[in-house]
Every structure is written in structure tokens, then in C-alpha cells.
Amino acid sequence: MKDMLKSIVAGAKADYAEIRVEDSRLTQISYKGKTLENISESADSGGCVRALVRGGWGFVSFNRLDELERKMNQAVEQATLISHHVDGGTKLAPVARVQDRVVVSPKMDPRKVSLKEKKEILEGYNDIVLSYNSRINTSVINYFDKFSRITLVTSEGTCIEQEKLDLGGGVVAVANDGGETQMGRFSFGSSDDFGVLLGKEEKVKQACRTAVDMLDAGSVKGGEYTAIVDPLLAGVFAHEAFGHLSEGDNVYEDANLQKLMQLGETYGSDILNIYDTGRDTGYRGYLKYDDEGVPTEKTYLIRKGKLVGRLHSRETAGVMGEKPTGNARAISYRFAPICRMRNTCIECGEASFEDMLKDIKLGVYAKDSYGGQTSGEMFTFSAGEAYMIREGKIAELVKNVTLSGNVFHTLRNIDMIGNDFKVEDSGGGCGKGGQMPLPVSHGSPHIRIRKVIVGGRK
């Protein structure tokens, strides 16, 4: 097979050509309430070819792995059609040729755990939720594990066979009282260990407690607050607030944004360090090579408050004259790789939680994540659980807290960074350009942000 792929990319009438072939197995189990909603075994196999001709890209994806030469020709034709309309600006940053075979060696391999055992573990958690108390109405439980084998062959001589393991899910407790519905959740994920799912009884109980307590909580009054954000939500904040804007495809062809995002520009105070790494094994954002065959690295985006790097594909790095960082990722063979994050973190600082808290007269302590969204300089991130801070103390629980910011103001308003760094994987993922959910991770210590906009009642 590999030899055939090599001969097809070698024969392509293109400046650059690649073939990616993927074979994967997906197991999914979900419960809603007592009933098992779905249990399934899916096999997915397909591939794609991509060709670059004088600055134009052609891309063809498929399930049938026959007629690869015809498909390559089609991609070359599409790229050639584009090349008549562009000035050939696209340059791929040079990278070393890689020949490698990456094998996953899980700590606890989900493929070796029987469906029966997986089901029993989830049912155990489901029982905890459903028997917690009468205000818990129902549960939503999801689990998946996916094992894939991806072969990438390029016309430059790179040939990588990479195995990937991804697993995750969540346990959601749904509380209901009259017309009011609230949820509490425990989410998990890993790239090498089924064990992250074991022994989480306390976390599941905590999710139940949160859901029930929030039924009685009031809403926060909308406005600007000083917020302390817990590591899980601060990780989402790093991802939404700065990660997306750092993606090379945002910047590389926009001269005005390049002016704003020149390396060396100050974005925060000198305690702020943000990086994105593919090298942290075990997390869902772990990746030895990206989908262009570039080895991943730890890429600093902000160091001592200053912009020092961005997340590149070979194309965005080539156009900007910077180094590729191994951030070109595709969710599957259905898509061409684009600039994406891996594990995005705010680096550990020195402040203790008490120090952050003590001089806040009125603020919000936002914990746990419902997710977030970014567009340009604007972003939102939603807390799963939140409390008012009054006179330096954590006060009452408040519900439905969504925070919002603007990258040019909000990062500067981070005035304290905690000493309790943590990466917590979730079962969700990141979406961009129709590619969702991509496995990513994020981490952070507690951080304090001044003047965050919190939506809410009058």
C-alpha cells in the first residue's frame, strides 16, 4: 500500500502533493436516564489527496480507496484552475523529511476493556446520579473511544504511519424543579488511559450537588466584575481568548492584523505566559506529528506579557517567514489540515487563592466550563458553576454565568496568576471551519481578571 501511495504522489503534476489514509474504530455508549440510549461500533475508512500547483490548493476526499490516481489528478486539476487566478503567493515552509512509525502504548487500553465492563462502570455512575435525591430528574452520560491509524505520504519523501487513541465523555446530572432546569457535570478525556474514567464517584456526586444547589441560586446582575476563574475555565479562556487569534491562518494574509500582532507587542502584564504544546503525553491534545507530517513542539504564544509566537501550518509559516510549529490539523480524512491548537495553557504563577480573593469587594468566582466561542477579538466562556465574591469572601452561588471579553483589553486585565496549575481534559472538542470536535486540551492555574463583562439580569 505504502509503495503505491508513494508512486502516486511522486507522479502528481504538482509543486507539492500528499495522500492521507485513515482507518478507525469508534465505540460509543450513551445513557439518558435509566435507559441505554446508544451503544455502537463504527468502522471508518477513507482518505484524501491534496495538491499545490503554483499557489493553488486542490483537495479531494473519499471513502473508496480505489482509483487514487484519478483522485490525485482531480486535485491537481482543481489546483491548476486556481493557479490561473492567483499570483503564486503560497510558499510552504521547508521541513525535514520524516520517516516514522508511531505506535500508541496506552497505560490502560480501552480496546482491552470489554463492552460489558465499560457499560458497568458507566451504569455505576448513572446509579449515583439517579439515586442522589428527588430533585435530580435524570442523567446524561456519554462515552467514546476511538483508535485510528493514519498514513501520510508526501511528494517530499515524508512517510509517517501514526496511531492515535482518543477517549472521553461526561456524566451530566440534570436537576429540575417546576420550570427550572439546572445541570452539573463531570467530564473526562485522555489519549492514553482508560483509567481516567475509574474511581470518579466523588466527582459525580459533586456534579449532582452542583445541579441541585443551582436550582435555588439567584442570577447574577449583568455588568463588569473582577473575576477569579478556576483552572478548568481559565484553560478554556486561554483557548478562546488568545489561542484562536494566534492561529496563523488568521494573520498570514492580513496586513492590518499583522501590524497589531507583531512579535514583541505587549498583550498582558509581565506575569502572563501562554503556550500551546503537542508534547504533553496523555492529554487529548497530544500529537507527535501534525497532519502535514511536521513534528509538534511547545510553542510559546505570550512570554512575560509579550507576543512571541503563533500556531502555524507550513503554508502560514512559509508566507510569514516563520518556523512551522506542527499545528496543521485535520479532524479526519474528510478535511484538509488547518491551523489548530493542541494543549493550550496559561503557565503557573505565584499567587495563592487567598491572595487573589482578599481584596475583592464585589466579584465573581467562576468554575468549571460549559464551553466558549470566539470570533475575531471577541470571546465568551461559560461557567458550569459560579459564586459571588463579597468583601474578600466566597459568597452565594449564582446560576447561568457567561463571561465575555475582548482580546485587546481582557488579557491586560489579568492581574494575578495562581500557583496551582492543572490540565483537566474534557470529553468535548474544538470547532473551526466545519471541523468539530477536534481533540484539544487546556490548562491553567486559578487566574484573576479585572473588568470582565458578565451577562445577567438588570
Binding site: 468502522a43 484538509a336 447561568n400
Partner: protein, 444 residues
């Protein structure tokens, strides 16, 4: 397909095979230049085997994977979910059959024509402002869907799909502004020029920022923002959420929940709707279901399972969709999902609505609303694009603002008017809505 069904019936008691195949082409312009042309061919099969009252579900995208597919479905069937329903066997009537799904125009559109249109759009927008990073895209495709089951059903249809989007990003100083419009349907029938001019008009007004203090405002939501406001109604009327008690609406059919001017349908037969089809993905004939009629909760939407759980009739909403959006995914098990969401219009022209409001805020785009507590009715998000209205006119953009409303109470007590005009946005057909007393929190 028949071969799979035959083998599956041999080892199970009942079985259902669902097959999806298709092809599509996308032409994309990014940062003001033609960037890529993507095409895709896809094929997949899903199998449900029912044995001992349980369901085994397995899928594959391989071509000759019949034995392995059947084996995997059998592997999971003993652990599978309870099967509470009978597989359907229903002919679709002439009224359904006559709903067009295939557009020759979409099927035949040459790639070069899309390229030409894109180049024209870029010339036009750059003619207005060279600094705008223009993006636009065209998608055309065809899908063939077939379902067969052991009750004797064998149904299939062939459908086209088309999409168009245009927009741009303008950075002036530290101000970033994105304006865009997109449309989708079965037929490649887009007002490309009109939408391009709309984007230019939006840029022209929104590049000027105007301050707005935190507080309660009269607000008009455009159809884009109305689609966010409707999310709580969409998730709460989902038969599965109702059956499992996640939705707070169980046992509340017939209750007057909203303003009597509010009528919402789930319409699987909507002309040119992206979710329109003759059958759902379990082989149930598609229909138009009225969810809210004059403010009263009338129906939930169901797949086979949720209908059986609640003793209702399936409504043709058993779809195999990706987690987000109306895109079919062969690996997804059927679940109740909205088809096309259609809201009845009001009687006031949009211009008149703006004039009547006088001063207030026009909210066009929100981000982050999907992360709200939708089952609690909460819709909260950053106002990505919103305008301050003075004397019925857009005077500039309000920025760094959060809107938060409870859709349940807003559409009951705070609804002022619905517009006569509606816009079809893919699977949504929605009017503009004016609300009173909406909370907007801003910076500073």
C-alpha cells in the same frame, strides 16, 4: 443493501439498513483570493439489528464490509438499548412525493461559474474598501439516501444541496469587524449581488462604534439572532428530552406558554429547505408538525423511540445528524432532531418596526449562546454584531456587549412585534422580532 438486510435478518429478529452516499464540491475564497477547491465523495452504511428486544447498532464506511458489519452489530446487541418501537412500513403519498428534492441547476453548475462569481464579489467589496479581507464560498452537492427494513420498507431519495456565503473582516486600529451573510437550500438560487451589497451596507454602518451603557433596552433581533433565541424552544420540544425529563415541558402539551402571536412549525416538507426530504432516516414519512400554535405548546418532535416512549406518533424527525448542524453522519444513531424550523410572520414591516422602536438596539449576531442553560430558557452571548438605533436608524455598532434573555419569559411577556418579512436561512424561516426590556451588559 438487500444482501446486508438478508444476512442481518438471518441472525437477528428484525433489522434496518441505512445507506448514504454523495458527492460535493466547495469553492472557497479567503483573504480576497481564490484559495481552494475541495471535493468529496462519501459512502457509508448503518445497520440496526433487533434481537431479544434489544438494538445492536454498527456502522461502516467501507465498501465490502458486510460480514464484519453484521458481526459488530451482533457483538453489541446483547448490551444494546431496549427496542420499544416497531420498524415502520409506510408509503409516502403524492403530496409528499411531489415536494422537489433535486435541482438540475444545482447538479449542473460548473465550477468555473462559481469561481467567476467569487471574483466579481471580491472586486465589488474591494471597490468599497480595499482593506476588507473578503471571504466567500460556494458549495454544491448531491446525496442519495436509502433505508430498508425487515418490515418490508424500501425507500430512497436523491437530493441536491447548495450553499453560499459572503463576508469579510476589516481591521481599523484595534477595532475588528466581521460582517457576513450566508444562505443554503436545495436549489442554487441565491441573490449573490443583493447579499454582497447587504454586507457592504453593514460594514458601512458598523465600522463606526458608538457607546452604550449597561441596562435594559428595547431590542429588535434579526432572523439570525432569532435563531439563537429559539434554541431553548427547539431543545425543550425534542421528544427525547421530554421523554427523559430533561425538558421541563413534559406533561404540558396544550398549555399556553407564549404570546398568542407565536406560531412555530417543524416542517420537513418546506420548499427548498436544507432539511427537507420525503423520509426521515428511519424511513418515517416526513411531515409538517406545529410545535407552538398561537402561543400554545401543541406537539413535540419524535423519532420512533421517543414516540413509543410517550405513546405518540412518530413525526418524521428521526435523523442521523452530526452533533452540530443538519449534516447527516452515518455513524450517528437516529435521534429526534429538528428539520426546518418555520416561524409564522407578524404584520409589521421591518422599517416600521425600527421607526416604532425609535431608540434601542438591533442585535444581528450573537456568539456563545449554545453554551447557555438552554433547558432553563437562557440565551446569553456576546453581541458580535449589534447596532444602536436612534430615531429608527442604525447609527453605529455597539461593541463589548453581552445580551442575556430568558426566551421563555421574553416570548411570553416581552414580545412587542413580529415582522411581516421573513428570511430563509438554510433550515430556518424566521421574521425579525422586537422585544422590550432586554438586558445588555457593556464594558465601562
Amino acid at each position: 443493501m438487500e444482501n446486508i438486510l438478508k444476512k442481518a435478518i438471518k441472525v437477528g429478529e428484525h433489522a434496518e439498513v441505512f445507506q448514504l452516499s454523495g458527492s460535493s464540491t466547495q469553492v472557497n475564497f479567503e483573504n480576497g483570493r481564490l484559495k481552494k477547491i475541495d471535493s468529496s465523495e462519501n459512502f457509508g452504511t448503518a445497520l440496526r439489528i433487533i434481537r431479544g428486544g434489544k438494538i445492536g447498532f454498527a456502522t461502516t464506511t467501507k465498501q465490502n464490509d458486510v460480514d464484519d458489519l453484521v458481526r459488530r452489530a451482533m457483538d453489541v446487541v446483547e448490551f444494546g438499548g431496549e427496542c420499544r418501537f416497531e420498524l415502520p412500513f409506510e408509503e409516502c403519498g403524492e403530496d409528499v412525493k411531489s415536494v422537489p428534492l433535486f435541482s438540475e441547476r444545482t447538479a449542473d453548475i460548473p465550477t468555473e461559474k462559481m469561481v467567476e462569481s467569487g471574483l466579481e464579489i471580491i472586486r465589488r467589496i474591494h471597490g468599497y474598501e480595499r482593506q476588507i479581507q473578503v471571504f466567500c464560498g460556494f458549495t454544491v452537492g448531491q446525496t442519495e439516501v436509502a433505508t430498508a427494513n425487515s418490515a418490508g420498507l424500501k425507500c430512497e431519495y436523491k437530493k441536491t444541496g447548495a450553499g453560499f456565503g459572503v463576508g469579510g473582516r476589516l481591521i481599523e486600529g484595534k477595532n475588528m469587524l466581521t460582517c457576513f451573510e450566508s444562505r443554503a437550500g436545495i436549489d442554487f438560487d441565491f441573490d449573490i449581488q443583493g447579499l454582497t451589497e447587504k454586507v457592504i451596507e453593514d460594514f458601512d454602518v458598523a465600522r463606526k462604534n458608538v457607546p452604550a451603557a449597561s441596562g435594559e433596552y428595547p431590542v429588535i433581533l434579526t432572523p439570525h439572532a432569532v435563531s439563537d433565541l429559539l434554541m431553548p424552544i427547539i431543545v425543550c420540544s425534542n421528544g427525547r428530552a421530554v421523554a427523559k425529563g430533561i425538558s421541563p415541558w413534559r406533561g404540558r402539551l396544550g398549555e399556553e406558554m407564549f404570546d398568542p402571536r407565536l406560531t412555530i412549525h417543524d416542517d420537513g416538507l418546506l420548499e427548498n429547505g436544507t432539511a427537507t426530504a420525503h423520509f426521515d432516516d428511519e424511513g418515517v414519512v416526513m411531515q409538517k408538525t406545529t410545535v407552538i400554535e398561537k402561543g400554545v405548546l401543541k406537539n413535540f418532535i419524535h423519532d420512533l423511540d421517543s414516540a413509543a416512549a410517550l405513546g405518540a406518533r412518530p413525526t418524521g424527525n428521526g435523523l442521523r445528524n452530526k452533533r452540530m448542524g443538519n449534516i447527516k453522519d452515518v455513524a450517528a444513531p437516529p435521534a429526534p432532531s429538528s428539520t426546518n424550523v418555520v416561524m409564522e410572520p407578524g404584520d409589521m414591516a421591518v422599517d416600521e418596526m425600527l421607526k416604532n422602536m425609535g431608540d434601542g438596539i438591533l442585535v444581528d449576531r450573537l456568539i456563545g449562546t449554545m453554551m447557555s442553560n438552554l433547558y432553563g430558557g437562557v440565551v446569553g452571548g456576546n453581541v458580535l454584531l449589534g447596532y444602536k438605533i436612534e430615531g429608527g436608524k442604525r447609527v453605529g455598532r455597539i461593541k463589548d456587549a453581552m445580551m442575556s434573555v430568558n426566551a421563555f419569559s421574553a416570548l411570553k411577556d416581552n414580545l412587542v412585534a413580529l415582522s411581516r418579512e421573513r428570511i430563509q436561512l438554510g433550515s430556518f424561516v424566521l421574521p425579525y422580532i422586537r422585544l422590550k426590556n432586554v438586558n445588555i451588559a457593556t464594558r465601562g
